[in-house]
C-alpha cells in the first residue's frame, strides 16, 4: 500500500535522488499492510544516531502506530527554536 514520506529541515538530505527539486520535500513509498511506524523507520536511510520527531498525518505519533494507505509520515530533527 502507498504512503507518503515527508522529510524536513536537514533530513531533506535523505530524500531520494530526483526528489527535492522545486521545494519538494516528500515522496511516495510502498509498505506492506500491518507495518508500524517503527517498522518503517528502521528501513529508512536515517543514520542510527539521528534523532527525529515524527508526525502521522500532522499529529502526534507513536512507533507502534499502524500505517494505512494514504498516510503522510513527516520526519524532522527535534531542533526547536523560533
Amino acid at each position: 500500500m502507498q504512503i507518503t514520506i515527508q522529510l524536513l529541515a536537514t533530513y531533506r538530505r535523505y530524500l531520494p535522488p530526483g526528489v527535492g527539486q522545486d521545494q519538494q520535500d516528500s515522496y511516495p513509498h510502498d509498505v506492506a499492510p500491518g507495518t508500524t511506524i517503527g517498522d518503517l523507520l528502521v528501513t529508512l536511510p536515517l543514520a542510527p544516531t539521528d534523532l527525529y520527531t515524527v508526525l502521522l498525518n500532522g499529529r502526534h505519533a507513536d512507533p507502534h502506530d499502524l500505517l494505512y494507505p494514504g498516510d503522510l509520515l513527516t520526519i524532522f530533527p527535534p531542533a526547536g527554536g523560533g
Binding site: 520535500d25 500532522g58 499529529r59 530533527p77 531542533a79
Partner: protein, 614 residues
Amino acid sequence: MYGWHGRLLRVDLTNSSFREEPIPEDDARRLIGGRGLAIKYLFEGMDPHADPLSPDNLLIMATGPLTSTPAPTGNRYMVCCKSPLTGALTRSNSGGVFPTMLKRSGYDLVIFEGRAPHPVYLYINDRHVELRDATHLWGRETQEADAALKAETHPKACVACIGPAGENGVLYAAILNDCHRAAARSGVGAVMGAKNLKAVAAAGTMIPALYDEKAMRAVVREAVGELAAAIKKGHSMRIYGTSYVPDVTNAAGVFPTHNFQFGQFDGTPRINGPFLKDNFLIRNGGCYGCPLACARITEVKGEIWGEQFAGKGEGPEYETIGSLGSACGVDNMAAVTKANYLCNELGLDTISMGLTVSCAMEMYTKGILTEAEIGRPLPFGDAEGLLEMIRLTAARQGFGEELAQGSWRLAHKHGHPEMSITAKKQEFASYDPRGIKGLGLNFATSNIGASHMTGDTAYTELFGTGKKIDGLTYDGKAELVKHFQDVFTILDAAGLCVFVTLRYTLDTANGYQPTRLVDIINGATGAGYTRDTLLEAGDRVYTLERLFLTKAGFSRADDTLTPRMAEPMPAGPIQGETIDLSRMLDDYYRARGWDPNGIPTRAKLEALGIAGWT
C-alpha cells in the same frame, strides 16, 4: 561579586543627572539577575498603575551575570518596564553585540527614570557616563542613527536605539541594537520614545572576574562540544536558522494563516528555510561569541525581485515569516524579507505589526473595514499593501494611526474581538495554540501577554526536543507550563539565549532539568545554587512579576486568549480543535501556589521569602 560589577546606573532623565548604586549581593542571588533584578527595581521605583508612556514608568536595560562571560550565548540583555501595549510587564530580549558592550561599559543594569526635556542619548564608556543631546538624531531610522552614534562616540561603541516608530509612540515599537537585532515586544521602543531617549551607546573593557573560571569553562566545553558535533552532522538551526520552522508548523497544521483562521498555508514552500537560503542568504551571522551563529545575513536584489522589495539586512526569522508572511497571506519571500528590513529600520515589532495588518486584512475581506477607511484595498496576500501599512504605522499617518494602536484596539473598535489574535492585548507568536495546548496556557498566563519566549513548551509539544509529547492533550500541561516558565525566566535573567542553552545546558530528555546550567551559573558567580534553588529563584522572579500585575489590576479574568481560539480549526491535521483554558487554569494556579483567582497567596510568598514585597 563574581560575574557581576555589583552596580547599576540610575539615570534621572528629567533632571539630566545620573548616579551609581550598588546591587545588594543577596538580591542578586535570590533573583538571579537581569529580568529578575529588574522586577525588584520596578516594584520599588514605580506605581503599578502608572501610565506606561508617562515619566513615571521606569525603563530598565538589564544584562545578566553571564552576559560577557564564556557561557555559551552569554551575550543577551533584557528591556523591562510597564508596557503601553498591554498595561502588563515587558520582558523584551535581544542579543547581537550591544549587551556584551553594555556589560563591559561597567554596569550590570541601567535604570531610566522620568522624561528628558529634549531628545537625548546616553553614552557610557568604561564607567564614564554622558547624557548628550540627540536633537540632531531624532527622526532618523535605526541604521542611520547607529552609524551617526558610532561616529560621534567611539568606533567600538555598540548602539541600541529607537526609530521613528518609537519616537511616534507606536504601541509595539521596538528598540534595535547593532542595526538588525531587536528588543521588540510590548512597545519598549515607545516607552523609550516617550522619555525622549533616542539611544544608548556603550563601549568598554570592564569584564567582571569569574568565581571559578576553570570549572565553568570545563562545563561550557562539554556543552559546546556536543553542539559542535551536531553542527558537523548537520544542525537545522545552523543551516536554516529559525526559518526551518515553517515546514514543521505547516505539517502540524499550526502555521498561522490568514490571521489564524487556518493552520496550513499553500505558500509555505515559497517562504520556508530552503527558499530563503537558496535565494536570499549571503552568509550566517551570529551574536557575540555564540557557537551556533544561526542568523541570516540576507539581501533582496531589486533587479531579480522588484525594486520595491530591494534591500539588505538580517532575517527574516521564523516569527516574522509567520506574522508578515502566512498570517497576511503573503507568499512572496522577497516581500516578507523587505517587510522585515522595514520593521528593523523604522523600529517595529514584526510580530505585532504583522498580526495587526492581518487583523485589518480580515476585516477588509469581510467588509468590516472599507477601502475608503484604509485608503486602499487590503486583501490577504497584498505584499505592497503590507509594506505601505508598515510605513504608515511608523509615521502614524492615515490608517497607520489605527494600526499603531495594535490589533486589540482595532478589532474591539469594530466589534470583532475574535479578529485580534492576542492575549492581554499582545499578539500571539506564530504557533496556533489549538494544536499546542500547553503553549496556549503559557500565552494566557504569561506576565507580558502572549509570548512564546516566556515558556516555549512547543519545544516538547511540537518539535520533540528531548522528548515528544502530544500537543493536543491537556493532562500534565499545567505543571509543564510552570516548569518551562521558570526555566525561561532563569535563562532570561542569566543573560543567555534559549536556542543553544535549552538543548545543551538542560537535560531535555529528563524533564528539562538545569544540569549543566546550574554548574555554569555557579562557576561564573559562586552563587552556590542547586538545581532546586535555581528553579525556585525562577519561580520567585515569575511570582514577583505576577504580584506586580496583580497590583496593576490583573487577575484570572485576564488570563484569556482571543475568542478565535474557541472556533474549531476548520481544516488540516488539527481540524475541529479548539483550546479550553478552563481545563488547565485551576491546575496551573495550584502548581504556582496562587489562589483560584490567580493571585499569589501569602503562603506562597512566604515560602519564596518575598512576603515583605506586598
